[in-house]
Symmetry: C3
Subunit: 366 residues, 3 copies
């Protein structure tokens, strides 16, 4: 045992071992980032996710039903998976991002279950300097895999980050092609999933795929007020360590003066709220695109309304179809105002009360 005798206080000196995140100049096209801290998902996460969001989506809370639909066990909610996988990318990509600008092409390719462990990598697919010389946009393609090296979810996102040293733009302008939606094909249906025996009694909701029409607007009419502890717990659960969500002492110096709610928490609240009207939208299989239109804070009450964009069937599948929709999140406004905004898209996107636009695809019993 070579234990140093340590009777005297050591001479003290400050070092810099704390990773403070990358700047625009640190990224290059095709760069591979291996994100730290793989995470095993447990049945504790399942319960916490329900407690944090109020989710009631059936395939993620009733194992008997999941088994009747072909799964061996209760699958983890895809948004819970997304947030945990997303959290892994934060230290390397968005620790000090100016803004999360958008998501695209998020595809849930394989279900995961309690006990599975998620590892995440990202590849830089685009870089674009801003004309102000101070910031730039980084585009990444992130892939989460389980312990068997199977891809479980992948997505693209773009964030605005600071330059280390502001300077005249050097002409970096590599914007990637981003598909406007995830391609619809049978790969969107998880292996094993079938709705052959589906009963509307399971959800107490009669509305199946056939009952939804393109252009239809549904006001989900539930409100969920965010408490500081709710969003802090959720964001810590996802091991997302962006300081803006947690550090009130720092954020009291910001324009808003308070902690920012993690945008993913708003996505989950809206998805939970849509249960009322979309209870049979049992499996969120893809996010075609998304944007956080305004920030949310503790004390805000979140509402949601959806518009059906499209729907269809899969070849050789009589049990299951797909519904593409946009769900909008709102804060602190009344039902009637939400209805008015939903009818006028040009008002909708500029409303200060609109916090989320999420374009996604659900699987639903025919």
């Amino acid at each position: 045992m070579n234990q140093t005798t340590n009777s005297k206080l050591p001479k003290r000196f400050l070092t810099e071992k704390t990773f403070q995140g990358y700047f625009f100049e640190d990224f290059e096209i095709n760069q591979q980032l291996i994100h730290g801290t793989p995470r095993t998902i447990t049945s504790g996460d399942i319960s916490l996710y329900i407690a944090l969001t109020g989710s009631q989506h059936l395939l993620n809370c009733a194992e008997t039903v999941a088994q009747a639909c072909g799964f061996k066990r209760l699958p983890i909610d895809n948004l819970l998976l997304f947030h945990i996988a997303f959290g892994k990318t934060v230290p390397d990509i968005s620790l000090n991002a100016v803004a999360n600008l958008g998501y695209a092409n998020c595809r849930f390719s394989s279900p995961i279950f309690a006990g599975d462990t998620i590892s995440v990598t990202s590849k830089v697919i685009g870089l674009k300097e801003n004309s102000n010389g101070k910031t730039g946009i980084v585009y990444v393609h992130s892939i989460a895999k389980n312990q068997h090296d199977t891809t479980v979810v992948e997505w693209k996102r773009w964030v605005m980050v600071h330059k280390k040293t502001p300077s005249a733009p050097m002409g970096i302008d590599h914007i990637p092609d981003l598909e406007s939606s995830v391609t619809i094909n049978q790969n969107l249906i998880p292996d094993d999933l079938n709705f052959d025996n589906f009963s509307s009694d399971w959800t107490a909701c009669k509305h199946r795929l056939t009952h939804y029409q393109v252009g239809e607007i549904i006001n989900h009419r539930q409100g969920m007020t965010i408490n500081d502890s709710d969003h802090s717990l959720a964001t810590r659960l996802y091991q997302n360590n962006a300081r803006v969500h947690f550090d009130q002492h720092m954020m009291s110096q910001s324009a808003a003066g308070k902690r920012l709610v993690y945008g993913g928490h708003i996505m989950s609240l809206c998805r939970a709220i849509t249960h009322s009207g979309l209870a049979n939208g049992l499996w969120l299989t893809a996010i075609n695109g998304g944007a956080h239109l305004n920030p949310s804070f503790a004390g805000d009450t979140v509402y949601a309304a959806s518009i059906i964009l499209d729907k269809g069937h899969f070849d050789n599948r009589e049990d299951i179809g797909w519904l593409r929709l946009k769900t909008y999140g709102f804060k602190n406004i009344d039902e009637e105002t939400i209805n008015e905004l939903m009818m006028e898209p040009e008002q909708l996107r500029i409303s200060k009360q609109c916090v989320l636009e999420l374009d996604y695809t659900l699987l639903m019993p025919n």
Copy 2:
């Protein structure tokens, strides 16, 4: 793949797919309601329940002890089971209830364990119009079963609900017989449970059945302050989606101006507080009756005191007996005032500080 080309925005129109709950006229005697969203209970729920309530009841937190008392595994706390089962009934019965008037005849007939899935149905057993022509009382008998179709808990409750269209009473006056207590017999003892090897060291509490006397009042002397996040998390965990608990934007228009704490959360806090003085009341086997006497809000500090109503033994069982008691929940008052109220029943029930009256039966080592 018949994916529609969707280059144009669809024509928008509002529809009504969001279920907004039933009105008095929607119910009829003997109507059967199959509640949606069966729920698998996980070990995450066990931990969350402890974190949310502070429960220390031994049979629900120590698997070694549960096994020494005959269970194969750690049984789920019966109040956690009750709240989850109750939550299932909310959309169909009390989504927009004016008031939850009372409970009776709640019997926990079979223990459940992590991994079990709960499904709930209700039958309408009574209907009574109010003379104001605006509201009526609905009485239901609800039954929760596990995945093997075994009844695990059943209860009766009555709620006041709005009429869809106010009108002069039509003479609907069907009030069911409600037993004043659950019958005491050996069916109240879960299969497998025995206290043959019980040791007071397990609870560090010397008081067994023999030490309690009818008429005895115990002030449990612990206070638990409710935070907004605590009660929101609990109520979401139970998938109880009554808006009054969550929607501050809406509730700011209510008389109190704030979100109402789910009454079941108060029941759980009081049960947890009674651990101090009733630690050997190991198994809550029946709720004879209960009422929420005043509302609770975040910021309130809850206290509890109990009076022993009755006690007794079971035939051929030397290990185990039963204790019937009433626990009262209080808010924001001092120990001495609680003692005074407990000694004067007529003051107790009209006190604005009294939030709960719960008449229940515990199993306890002899």
Copy 3:
């Protein structure tokens, strides 16, 4: 069934069954205390601990990594174990303590896993009257064992408690020897643990044992604001029932006017914050000493900085070494002020912003 006919209300009388904690006179040297309520740790606790603290320490969240490091399953975070074990001792030792004065010689001797059940006993090892005649100090040695009677953690602590009846000191002055640090030897390495295959990719942190120098100061630069619900949930999860943490109605009469955050929650927040800069400090194996220098309250933002005190290797182990360090917790101050305080130890300990001093030993890949 000898069910008493209970038609009349029983005559009411107050009794005293609620245990209110021991006073100084109730303790004697070598007294053994068997603490109640053994507790089974579940995967729910794992997730809640992450959600409550933001912990990202790899061996406690990634089962694949834990297995690559020799464990059969995911081990429970040692601080989570400590808090649960500590909570068991509160009713008998510190329910009404004036102050928790310090910890020493805390050693985690065997890892535990989801499903294990913890039982705790304490022995009184020291007693010292204070000269004011009103209080005294009680020193205890506490031991937590799993269901196989294997010691999993043990520690010493001392608390100031009230005398039942103030009186002139009787000369009780038995202060135990408390080692200044846990002895470093191979017993500090859990059976099975090895870092032979360790990859820095797992933590995305390059700093291994060789990179840390004695005297080095690391400012971890993350802030975590405490919400009332966070600390209440954590403290209830640990079944620690000291009223000062929960009862706002009572605490509004205290000097601070608010609930006190459980000191162990601050320990966990600081350990979580140190991930940034000490991500490869994978296993907390011993706490040499600790003190809560100032109280914390909801609304405080906690920061942490560490100084490396010592480091070394183990005989015959090329994979693993040890790092002894002190982590200080701070509240509501800026990074620069923390750096200044860390460089001036005499200022540090008297700062009102310094809330924790924790001297501990980590295992780290060489």
